[in-house]
Symmetry: C2
Subunit: 338 residues, 2 copies
Amino acid sequence: MSFKQFSAIALPEIEKELQAQIARLNQPRLHPFHAMLTYHMGWTGEGAGPEAAGKRIRPLLVLLAVSAARGAAWQIGLPAAAAVELVHNFSLVHDDVQDNSDKRRGRPTAWKKWGVPMAINVGDALFVIGNQAILDLGKTLPASTVTQAASILSAACLDLTRGQYLDMSYEGRTDLGLDEYWPMIGGKTSALLAACAELGALIGGANAEEREGYRLFGHHLGLAFQVQDDALGIWGDESVTGKSAASDLVEGKNSLPILFALEKIPAFAKRWAQGSIQADEVAELAALLEREGAKTYALETAQRETEKALTFLEKADPGGEAGETLLELANMLLKRKQ
Amino acid sequence: MSFKQFSAIALPEIEKELQAQIARLNQPRLHPFHAMLTYHMGWTGEGAGPEAAGKRIRPLLVLLAVSAARGAAWQIGLPAAAAVELVHNFSLVHDDVQDNSDKRRGRPTAWKKWGVPMAINVGDALFVIGNQAILDLGKTLPASTVTQAASILSAACLDLTRGQYLDMSYEGRTDLGLDEYWPMIGGKTSALLAACAELGALIGGANAEEREGYRLFGHHLGLAFQVQDDALGIWGDESVTGKSAASDLVEGKNSLPILFALEKIPAFAKRWAQGSIQADEVAELAALLEREGAKTYALETAQRETEKALTFLEKADPGGEAGETLLELANMLLKRKQ
């Protein structure tokens, strides 16, 4: 089954599960609160729809790993699929507050619509419901599997806060280099993707060794994905042409090419230390970074992480149609051009 | 054993468990992040000490319920005791951001010291570690008990976000009355105390009926405690004399006497709608509220909730020395004069 076919079947089930989880807040007096969560999830309010909801990559990864591990029915993984997506969205809502971001998937962010105090609470609620969702695995699985799943999810959540701390702590620092990149991105991006793959394998009945293979697959998939995203953030179509303000250079993001440049390109490090990059400098700086090897470095790094991810996936030996679909998902994520 | 004696034995163990849980962040690159949590917990930084740590009422309640339920050793409840205190502190850190509060237990709040983005992340980390702590019950208890405990804790956390939403949504509203009080305070104060008592009973081996008794004891204990606190917020020594700015009237808190007054005392409702109460109006308004029955109403309500709490505790039939200590804790909380 192609990834597209699988998505067409699984996505409606994922949305149904997410909606059922969030309905915990669909109660008298709480309807406006419930509506804040359904807005953020992309279901209600102006601009609602699939674009606003996002791609649901993480729950799809969970479900494919469930089936690929031992041929189990992916449906038993739905509570875990909902849990990871809820946790992801909790982190997005708080991230938007922390980064002062006005827009998320083309729409005003939660804090922009309802203020920072409400948005903090919306994020908190998404997080709590994520924790409740993972416990719902107990409806079909033994309690010992549920506590393992909850541990995996919580460990990833702590990594999210670690990565977030590092990212924020880098702000205003002028002594950054490549060493600062991996622990940050390991927490911010990879930890949850690693947890998705591991959770799927656990739920699907994989043994400890296989689970570790799935986890490492997810981990390197996350790193490769992030490094690619970082390259697109400077040399992607949107970043260079047209909307240069969208460049990571202007946003001051601690991305891989930028940390490479801070370490290796003195002229860039000097400019960076002088304060925010303006939109009209973007084309020239992007060219400088490319000339000095930052783009090649990023693309080679992405390639290396991609190969690691695929090697671990191969070792984990995913089976059946779901295994092929999982490989397709990985390739899709890793070869995307924007 | 008196509550004082029990505290002297149990508090060091609680602190040790809390420190071990938070040590998950005591890692290379993360020391400043770890220090933010240890500062908030009252262990490090200027003004550190028992005053800064708070009374740890919630973990003590868990541990006493563990022993009172069936005579079990309270030590097996330590991971749950740490979990409820971590969750409580997560909610305090976010609450301080949401309320724009500069001080907590006499010291600058986390956001005041490190900014809002960092404080949000500190709260998130405390919450995650609380979730991890509860799973540590699995070291001595069966997985099915652990998943029940995690469900109880998460349900209380969702109630916290419900109560927080209601509290924030009341801001600026001039049509509030007593009906708005109970759902808010049930979430903000009672839910976690109810969870403490229920968790203790569960861990101690109580059956479902007994657990429900403990839960309702904690619930009404929380309500009684909050109503008393609300009365002290207007008529306590600190509120009327000396530091009138500390009055709930000035802080615009949605407390029981104020919601009573908004519903029953038109002169007060009119003044409230005109904007913030100033410190020099506090004495007169407190007297008006007392004259018109708000104080009597609050004290009678606290008395009624106290009786309910004690009735449920009696029904739950706590045993042994711990049972007496639990009763002492309840009486101490409920009869305090400030």
